[in-house]
Subunit: 375 residues, 2 copies
């Protein structure tokens, strides 16, 4: 990769070992000649933290500097809280992990943070986030740096870190072009192009939740009509189920709603679906079809080899996945679908936090010119 | 870019000058220190040919090895012809340019070819091309190599070479992420991601003509209903105008159709539009709006900084461009549109042939592992 000779590489690696950055890690498998010598980062150097802030949940993990997770914590959360409140809780949770592991806060060298909204990646702030308006331009980095003085902090949106996590999981490291779709309270897309996250010109690429699926559809929180998110994400699924219950289309949904103070959650719809409720099944299928119709267009445009489906609603299982697949295969061109794989995220619920750790590691060791952070 | 020292760079460049690959080209502008020495490729090395095969036209240019066009020829063409017929004509036209310039066929070192259909870039063949079914898997490279023995031949689709041409024109060389939309007999999109053509996993990225705009729309030649191409490209514009004439909605279109053996071309609609015909104007506006609706989704997904509109129908002028812009701005998210520029292609009709030359040059000098060609 460096283009260096064997002698120069050996010299430089030995210098890094002498300085304590790398340690020997045994021998690798020979591909004909001498067995390669393996090295890895010296775990004494410090630690990395991954923070995955979702619309309704919070996951934090402490990892060693090679990216292996050591400790973790998951909690429900609400991003409608103020940044101070939620980030304060994140800092406390990180400190708890640090204390539990018997290390000190200044040993944290990198913190990767995923947030559920459009991020101006070069500045590390949220811009016009529909789910969390109070967070606009809030200096998330500075907040963490007050407590973790030695840490380099990188902010990205939740689907981009999911895509990074997916790349680390299964065999996705060998995939050039893939998409990760997160279906939950919103709908977003992480884009891997030539093995790199495609963030776009303003850092907001992948915001597919506001692609129009019905010009006469309901008004979305973005102000437009018939956005995919407003018609197929978690809140829309719950809303349609409550309507079905009120219309007397499902005894089960009606009973669930009565015993649930007059409301239904997306999870209720999932439960009803698993119990064979036709109305619930139809709602899930309709969501899958709308998501698939949008993905069909993106497949024609982007021609990915894989689409991985993740997020809370993805856990609703095969009915959703099958409806998505059917819609994509019906509408995309044969050349773009003949090798296309659509499946659940292989990293599952961990994709976000793994990706946040990878993001921090990537920027800790590599000088890049795409962040306008002052150090 | 190489990471080489000044001494090593100087040594290598001098060796290339001694071998006749490079020649001195004067001094550049100092940025503080010694004035840089400029070099360029030695034009004595040979020549490059760019071939841009459109659905209805053919443009060929002979260029020097620095990419400057020396001679060119443009002709109407019909890709429904057999590959042998059309490629035979291309070869003849290249030979005419070669003879007119007083050089020999074996001095052609590279030929870049753009074709209006999905290309498997690594194999250099068309795959399931809707406009030109006879060309499927036809060995275009071998055809040219029979006549031009020394030439390295690279095949790509017409919109990818347009994007390469656009990158060479105006100030697009500094743009990281942009789209080039070709609107003609079909509708396609060239995608520039991080300054490189994004071809996708099967080489068919950018095939936006078959994104669905109306599930109840007319049947497209791809077999699906309501594809963008079937509803907004050249043939649809002509069809709608003929319907308007038959329905008595426009005296002008009716007269044009009568004096034109009962048919109208897209160009007729353009003429009527320029003469202020309301029905023609409405048809052009409707096309622009449908194209803009699709682009709005792609802007949310890809977040480009620029969209350049080219192709025969783009020449229909401001009414089309304004309708496209309006639809994109209405439907895309503010963060993705605040810096977005939508305009006509700056390279115009030349984008394709310039891009074909650039494509040939790129592969002539750089060893890349993404072509499975045998040499």
């Amino acid at each position: 990769m460096t283009g260096w000779s064997r002698a120069k590489t050996s010299h430089e690696v030995n210098a890094l070992i002498d300085k304590g950055y790398l340690v020997e890690a045994g021998e690798g498998i020979s591909n004909g000649g001498r067995k390669p010598r393996l090295v890895r980062f010296n775990n004494q150097l410090g630690y990395i933290v991954g923070v995955d802030i979702g619309a309704t949940s919070l996951e934090i993990a402490l990892a060693d500097i090679n990216g292996s997770i050591l400790r973790r914590v998951t909690q429900p959360a609400d991003v409608r809280q103020s940044p101070e409140e939620l980030l304060g809780r994140c800092s406390m949770l990180i400190l708890e992990l640090v204390v539990a592991h018997g290390i000190r806060p200044e040993q944290i060298l990198g913190i990767g943070v995923g947030v559920p909204g459009p991020v101006d990646f070069t500045r590390g702030v949220l811009v016009a986030p529909p789910l969390m308006p109070d967070w606009e331009n809030y200096p998330i980095r500075n907040y963490f740096k007050e407590t973790f003085l030695s840490a380099f902090v990188v902010i990205d949106n939740d689907v981009n870190i999911m895509a990074l996590g997916e790349q680390r999981s299964g065999d996705a490291a060998d995939l050039d072009h893939f998409l990760v779709i997160k279906i939950g309270t919103g709908i977003g897309c992480g884009i891997m192009s030539s093995r790199k996250i495609h963030r776009g010109s303003d850092g907001c690429a992948g915001d597919i939740g506001h692609i129009c699926v019905d010009k006469q559809g309901p008004i979305c929180r973005c102000g437009n009509r018939g956005c995919l998110e407003a018609m197929a994400a978690g809140p829309a699924i719950a809303e349609k189920a409550m309507q079905a219950a009120r219309d007397g289309k499902s005894d089960l949904l009606q009973k669930m709603m009565e015993s649930n103070a007059g409301v239904l959650t997306p999870e209720n719809v999932n439960t009803a679906c698993r119990e064979g409720d036709e109305a619930a099944l139809e709602i899930i299928r309709a969501s899958g079809q709308m998501i698939g119709d949008v993905l069909a267009g993106l497949v024609n445009f982007f021609n990915p080899s894989h689409i991985f489906i993740g997020g809370g609603i993805a856990n609703f299982g095969n009915h959703l996945l099958i409806a998505i697949k059917r819609a994509v295969l019906r509408r995309s061109l044969p050349l773009a679908t003949s090798n296309l794989v659509i499946n659940f995220s292989r990293a599952g619920a961990d994709a976000g936090v793994i990706g946040a750790i990878m993001l921090a590691l990537e920027y800790l060791f590599v000088v890049k010119d795409d962040l306008h952070y002052s150090f």
